[in-house]
Each structure stands twice: as structure tokens, then as C-alpha cells.
């Protein structure tokens, strides 16, 4: 499902030549909708480069009058003085392991669900489907008790473990569906050649599933990168390990109307997702679509 791809081509009704102006309202509507969707992000981006005195006194739309007056000070300020540089690193330290662990663990289980026979296989997989939509809130209080009892609250591993638990049902679901669609003959000939399931898994299944794994990795990474609730509850009171979402949510409370700082901070948190979006759009959209079932 490559969703954001070339249009299938709208065919005009045969025998009815249309003039370009008959489609003018259509173009107009689409341009207006696009502008409305773009303006909030552009407003943020432009404001983040304007000097504080101007951001808080004149509209961002006036920034394009000569003489231009843009600055990087807001960024250097939030990155150093508001702890955002540290939070950026924390977001990476949280997101990367919280992506690697569930994907690897899920691949194992997905292979068992797709290509091994065992009693209760279907019932167990229905459980996985059911768990997809369980909301974070309904598990978080006991999870906090567990991490506190283990002395992990306020550390990265607490967040890694929680995101692994929350991310696994979807990861298993996605990979099992992909593995299950691989051709059966391939496994039969591999087993005839004496390959063990382990060999088949590492030599055949994983290499052939790179597109599905890429979509899953992107989805899980973005999910963790953009998560506020889990981080807030497990490491929210520990600024040294808090990710950007937590730091920015706190800045909104403390900085209030300092738009030059808030806009810069928000944009720092958006840079990585936007780069991923534009460079890996196909996998990104696929992952988002498949992951939409997740609670």
C-alpha cells in the first residue's frame, strides 16, 4: 500500500471536453485547504528564527518585509539554557533501544505464529489482536509500581521496558502478517536441504522482510519519540533523563508567552520526524497506516 504516490490519473468523461475553468473551484478548494494545513507549521518555523522583541509584538507574516531580521539565538538559547540539548540526546537514548528491543523480540514470536504449529495458536493470536487497542492508561499505574520496586523509575530502562511491553502486540501483529505471506515452498525446500527453523529465520525470513521491518522500525521509533504520557509518568520528575516531549510540555507551563523560545523548542523536536518523513516517506506512511490499529 504505497499511499502517497503518483495519482492514478483522473479520466475525463468520454466525449465531454471540459474547459479548464470548469475545474477552477476544485483547484481553489485544494489550494485553500493546503494553505490552512501549512500555515500553523510555517508560523512556527518563521517565528522560531525571529528576534524575541519582534515575535511578541508583530505577526510572523510581517517577517518577510525588508529589511529581513532573522536570528539563530532562539535555538542556541533553548538548546543550552532550557536543557533541550540534553533532552534531545535523552529522546535518542530512549527511542533507539525502545525500538530495537520490541522489534527483535516480536520477530521471534511472529515467526512462531506464522510458520509453526502448536495448540492454541489462533486463540493466542486473537489475544494479541485484542491487546492492540488496550490504552496505555489502563496499565501505567502498576507499571510504575513495577519499575519503582525494581529501582528503575527515573532511568532509561524503565521507559525501554514499558515501551517494549506496549509496542509488542502491534509489532507481532504486523510481522506475523508479513511473514505469513511468504511462500510456503521456500520453507519446504529449505527444510529439505537440512536447514533448521533458526537458520531459516535468520537467512530467509529476516532478509526477505526488510520492507516490513523498516516500516515497523519507523512506526515504533516515531511512537516513542513523540510519546509524552509514558515518559511523563516514568521519568517525568527526572530532568536529567527526560525526553524532549516532557521538557517542552514543562516549558509551556513555565515560559508561557515566550514564543521565540517555545517555537524554537517545538521545531527542534520536529526536525528528526520531518527528516524521516521526507526521506523515507513510503515506509513511513506504510508504518503509520499499519500501526493505526494500535492503542
Amino acid at each position: 500500500m504505497s499511499a502517497v504516490t503518483a495519482p492514478a490519473g483522473y479520466t475525463e468523461v468520454a466525449g465531454q471536453p471540459r474547459h479548464w475553468y470548469s475545474r477552477l473551484p476544485l483547484h481553489l478548494v485544494l489550494v485553500v485547504v493546503s494553505l490552512i494545513w501549512l500555515v500553523p507549521t510555517v508560523a512556527l518555523l518563521v517565528s522560531s528564527f525571529r528576534p524575541p522583541a519582534e515575535v511578541n509584538a508583530t505577526g510572523w507574516w510581517t517577517a518577510f518585509q525588508l529589511p529581513f531580521n532573522f536570528t539563530l539565538d532562539n535555538y542556541s538559547s533553548v538548546l543550552t539554557r532550557n536543557n533541550l540539548g540534553q533532552s534531545f540526546l535523552n529522546s535518542l537514548f530512549i527511542s533507539i533501544p525502545a525500538t530495537v528491543i520490541p522489534v527483535m523480540v516480536a520477530a521471534f514470536a511472529a515467526y512462531a505464529f506464522a510458520w509453526m504449529d502448536f495448540p492454541g495458536r489462533n486463540a493466542l493470536f486473537v489475544l494479541v489482536v485484542a491487546l492492540l487497542v488496550v490504552p496505555l492508561q489502563s496499565a501505567l499505574i502498576p507499571v510504575l509500581q513495577i519499575t519503582t520496586a525494581a529501582g528503575l523509575t527515573g532511568t532509561f530502562p524503565a521507559v525501554w521496558l514499558a515501551h517494549t511491553g506496549f509496542g509488542l502486540p502491534f509489532a507481532i501483529f504486523l510481522l506475523r502478517n508479513f511473514f505469513g505471506a511468504l511462500p510456503r515452498d521456500m520453507f519446504e525446500s529449505a527444510y529439505l536441504d537440512g536447514a533448521s527453523p533458526t537458520t531459516a529465520f535468520f537467512r530467509l525470513v529476516l532478509p526477505l522482510s526488510v520492507p516490513a521491518i523498516a516500516s515497523l522500525v519507523i512506526f515504533q521509533f516515531m511512537w516513542v519519540w513523540n510519546d509524552l504520557l509514558v515518559a511523563l509518568i516514568l521519568v517525568g520528575g527526572f530532568p536529567r533523563v527526560a525526553p524532549m516531549t516532557v521538557t517542552i510540555a514543562n516549558m509551556v507551563g513555565t515560559l508561557g508567552q515566550n514564543w521565540h523560545l517555545l517555537t524554537a523548542a517545538a521545531f527542534v523536536s520536529m526536525v528528526l520526524p520531518l527528516i524521516v518523513f521526507f526521506s523515507l516517506q513510503r515506509y513511513f506512511v506504510r508504518g503509520m497506516l499499519a500501526g493505526s490499529v494500535k492503542g
Binding site: 475545474r23 476544485l26 485544494l30 505577526g59 532509561f156 520526524p273 518523513f277
Partner: protein
């Protein structure tokens, strides 16, 4: 942050795949001690074990235990029966929260799906489809927190700063404090959700739309059907299953809403939803019992969607 945690993170990234390989080899080694016939019987369970250990400890047990905690006092020490629920139902704040969540459910879901469908149908007819769709999909990439900052800035009271009040001013409307007055503030928060999620609805519905044969649509047009009839009599009925899938997804997003409200109003001015009430009960009021009761209520509202998904999954499996 100390160097130690950074090193730990690197160790985890390199170590997890290594451990996985070792685990796979270890399972094969263990299985060698079994008689040949027993191996295929034990093997699947060894492959499932790591995943279900995580799911059991960090998802299933906590969810079940939340139900238990909802029947205990604020410090989870004594059983209090249904007292937490009775207390909740007696609070005006709870009913305010439910009213807001119902608003999210009704307006966020409907508008997102309808608007996503309209945009999907319209972009299908132009050559610059890809560009428009990418543009509308972008908000899906950013966090709710960043979106909250973006829209707080849009809604700023000062018409020299806030875009929405500037636009209102151009139309002769006085500057408004968009987030102060209920129910308008909840609507303004819902707009943020719509801005983020229309792209998702659009992309899925657009993919469904490509599956409808153009001959069918052309035949209807040749028979004299106008574009509205084509849309309501052919496109909508044929897309109904896709619309249901998109709708259920967005219903879940609506029910779990937390970040937008938390960042933009902190639940003040009567904007609380179930997600923020849960957090406030646990961390502002330090009442684990009440917070768990809220979480259980949230879980109960999601069960119909869960059953719908299971039914859909079983139907899909039947046709595999």
C-alpha cells in the same frame, strides 16, 4: 546525564540483536536433548517465550491489576469495594470530563473521517495529488506536544501574534480568548486533533478509493448521474468497510486523548478528558484508586472497538 547511561544505551542497541541470536542458538541446543518427535512441540513455545514474558509483565498483568487497584483505597492498601466509582460518579468534574470525551468522540471522529474522505476524493482528480497529500499528512509526523505549542501560538490572544485572532480581526471580529470558555475551548482543542489526523484518514480512504473501478464510476456518469450522486450512491457505500476501519481507529485516538489537552490547557477551564483526569487523579491528587477507576472506565469504553477488531480479524483470516 552521566556517561554510564549512554554506554548502557549503546550496549543495549548492540547487545539486543546479539542476545537474540544467542537465544535462538540456545533454543536449538536445548531441543537437541529432546527426542526428535518432541522438538516441534516445544520449539514454538521457546520462540514465543520472550515476547509473552514482556507482554505478561508489562501489559496483561498491569491491566488486570489496574482493575484490582480500582477497588482499593488511594494508597492501594485496603479494599474499598466500589467506593472509588461511587465517588467519581458523584463528582461534577467527572461528568464534565465525560461530556468532553463525548464531544471528542462525536466531533473529532466525524469531522476527521468526513473531511479525510472529501480531501481524498478531491485530490484524486488533480495531477498534484501527491503534493497536497504529503502536505496534509505532515502533522502526523510531529508530536502532540509540538502540535500543542503550534496551536497555542495560533490561538494567542494578541492579534499581532496569534494568527487566528489576526484572521478574525481581518473579518471584523474582536480578539477572542479561544481556550477559556466551555464548550468553545474543547472545540478549539478538537480542531488541533483534526489538523493532525485528517492526513491519516485521507491516505487510507484514498487507497480504498483507488480500488474502486473507474469503469463503474464512468458508467454511472454516462447514465446521467451527477458528481454528488456518484459520491453518495457509489463511492460512499463501496468505501463503507474502509470508513469503518478509519472510524474505529480515530475513536480510539479520541478516547485516549491526553497530550493535546495537557499541553494546551492542562485540563483547566473545564477541558478535562478521560486521559487527563486519569493523570490528575494519580499525580495531582495522589489517589491511585480513583485513577485506576478512571482507567478501567476508559478500558470498558474501548472494549466494543476491541470486539469489532477481533471480528474483522477473524473474517480476514477466513479468506486468507
Amino acid at each position: 546525564m552521566d556517561v554510564g547511561t549512554g554506554v548502557l544505551a549503546v550496549v543495549v542497541v548492540v547487545g539486543v540483536p546479539a542476545i537474540t541470536v544467542l537465544y535462538a542458538l540456545a533454543t536449538e541446543w536445548v531441543l537437541r536433548f529432546l527426542p526428535e518427535r518432541g522438538r516441534p512441540r516445544l520449539r514454538p513455545w521457546l520462540w514465543l517465550l520472550p515476547a509473552f514474558a514482556f507482554i505478561g509483565i508489562f501489559l496483561v498483568y498491569p491491566t488486570v491489576y489496574t482493575v484490582v487497584l480500582s477497588l482499593m483505597d488511594r494508597r492501594s492498601e485496603e479494599f474499598v469495594g466500589s467506593a472509588n466509582y461511587v465517588d467519581l460518579f458523584g463528582q461534577p468534574l467527572f461528568w464534565q470530563t465525560i461530556a468532553n470525551s463525548v464531544m471528542w468522540l462525536a466531533f473529532f471522529t466525524t469531522i476527521t473521517v468526513v473531511f479525510g474522505l472529501i480531501v481524498a476524493v478531491l485530490t484524486d482528480r488533480v495531477r498534484y495529488e501527491t503534493g497536497v497529500k504529503a502536505l496534509i499528512f505532515i502533522p502526523m509526523a510531529i508530536s502532540f506536544v509540538a502540535a500543542g505549542v503550534i496551536w497555542n501560538f495560533m490561538y494567542d490572544f494578541n492579534p499581532e501574534v496569534g494568527t487566528v485572532n489576526a484572521a478574525a480581526g481581518a473579518l471584523g471580529v474582536e480578539p477572542q480568548a479561544w481556550l477559556f470558555e466551555w464548550p468553545r475551548n474543547t472545540f478549539m482543542l478538537i480542531i488541533v486533533g483534526i489538523w493532525m489526523w485528517v492526513g491519516f484518514a485521507m491516505v487510507i480512504l484514498s487507497a480504498g478509493l483507488k480500488g474502486i473501478s473507474t469503469e463503474l464510476l464512468e458508467a454511472a456518469r454516462m447514465d446521467g448521474a451527477n458528481e454528488f450522486q456518484v459520491f453518495f450512491r457509489i463511492i460512499v457505500p463501496l468505501l463503507a468497510p474502509t470508513i469503518a476501519v478509519v472510524g474505529t481507529t480515530i475513536v480510539i485516538v479520541a478516547l485516549k486523548t491526553f497530550d493535546i489537552v495537557w499541553v494546551m490547557t492542562g485540563g483547566q477551564f473545564d477541558t478535562d478528558v478521560i486521559g487527563t483526569l486519569f493523570y490528575e487523579e494519580r499525580f495531582t491528587n495522589r489517589d491511585a484508586g480513583a485513577a485506576s477507576a478512571v482507567a478501567v472506565i476508559l478500558l470498558l469504553t474501548i472494549i466494543p472497538v476491541m470486539l469489532f477488531n477481533i471480528r474483522r480479524f477473524k473474517a480476514q483470516e477466513a479468506t486468507r
